[in-house]
Symmetry: C2
Amino acid sequence: MKLNNHAINRVLIVGGTHGNELTGVYLVKLFQQYPELIRRYTFESLTFLANPQAITAGRRYIDQDLNRCFLQQDLEDITLSNYEDLLAKNINYLYGQNGKYPVDFVVDLHSTTSNMGITIILDNDQPFNLQLAAYLISLHPEIKIYNSGKSGRAENGLRSRAKFGMGIEVGAVAQGVLNADLFLKTQTIVYATLDYLELYNQNKLPAFSHSFTVYRYMEKIDYPRNEQGEITAMIHPQIQFKDYQALNPGDPIFLTFDGQTITYAGESSTYPIFVNEAAYYEQRTAMCLTQKHQIKI
Amino acid sequence: MKLNNHAINRVLIVGGTHGNELTGVYLVKLFQQYPELIRRYTFESLTFLANPQAITAGRRYIDQDLNRCFLQQDLEDITLSNYEDLLAKNINYLYGQNGKYPVDFVVDLHSTTSNMGITIILDNDQPFNLQLAAYLISLHPEIKIYNSGKSGRAENGLRSRAKFGMGIEVGAVAQGVLNADLFLKTQTIVYATLDYLELYNQNKLPAFSHSFTVYRYMEKIDYPRNEQGEITAMIHPQIQFKDYQALNPGDPIFLTFDGQTITYAGESSTYPIFVNEAAYYEQRTAMCLTQKHQIKI
């Protein structure tokens, strides 16, 4: 069998980048218990629980969000030494492109309190990633493809250390909770991704449509706040759980605690995602606004 | 106006007994900003954020669950001095029956990741509490009445310090998240409760049906676990979000990570609540089983 000239040799499946997102934590534990589930012929599959102390504590992180710690300049900055700073440096030593076990492809498993269903997160427009997305959507038309490139994750996220990679973001599920349905769906997408990499390596990819929708990150917007920085409004009931649905100028977006509706003041339609994600309150993000693009590759 | 001989003189509305249950936290802040919302003629309305450090940290508690710290013997034990131990003692000094501002009625605001809709929690069968429940259900037939008496909350919960009281438990909502719809419904039930107390004090209660359903706590059941104490299964998809629905012997209850269905082995039908509550994983509770009773008073 002649392998692809650009074969993927090592794949890393990561759970617990955020310690209270249990889907990934328990999927990785399952794969560690039954490695045959993720074994393929043409590449090595590794698993990794990224933030062990946060997992034990049942919290997103100990000192700071690990998935913001991978800027090249931060990895090189010896003065940065809190728990997640050190984790990030260690992950880079292990799996980065100049590390001990350089990773060609990383699958990073996340969950969200937003109603994002099964979302594939790509951090860039590389044809390799887009082809994978097209393949997955041909098998599972219900999944959504989100390009996070402009959000910063392409530079500071864990995935930035691998040659290629993607996130799987599933919701709505509360922090600290396992939803069996979303667990099973995530598992299915992981297997489909490994199958893709196997077929790619073997030059055996089947024909599939290369036309699909991508939601591209544009900006994040914060909750209304008072002078003390406290939020003064909630996500409006009309857009709660309405991720990926059009938000048009004049549509309700927030409801103040004293009952006033605030409408969206943008100039054109947008497609919000991460609507009411628990972890984003402190990051001053009520939702991320995306633009919808039709992609042909 | 002649007041009821057993008039309620002081009412305490509590939020943030669990710091990451935001509905109560922000309702109490709203009432503190607009005290006229909870002002009535015949009693004094106080508000209180019970666990300030946990609220700031966005966590359920700092050292231990505050809503388990109110056993009389623990309040009297001078050796108990972690953060929540001290909070509990202080709350008892302030609002307990021998405290500075003894409270006749407490409304304790909670939320849950379980699909419990709007649940009124009563800690005992006192006629005063049951009449209030009957009144609320006559106005809002969709609410559920849960008697937690046998769970321990009647002895160790914050509400045990007041003469009378109830919890409002709303869900499903993730920890650290505000759901506007559930916020508004909780607010409505708080107002209806204050209205009831006002009518009660004035001997002006209208006629309403005194027949309704109560779900009574029987026992809690844990997740399947391995020898290391780690969970080996999830809530089965068929009962996820199915709080208050009959679980019969032989029905699916858990799904193991490797795909095996575990069925309910009880001998008779039960009505699970707190199904997949995030905070209960560490308390070794997958759900609480209740019995359904028709009450006439």
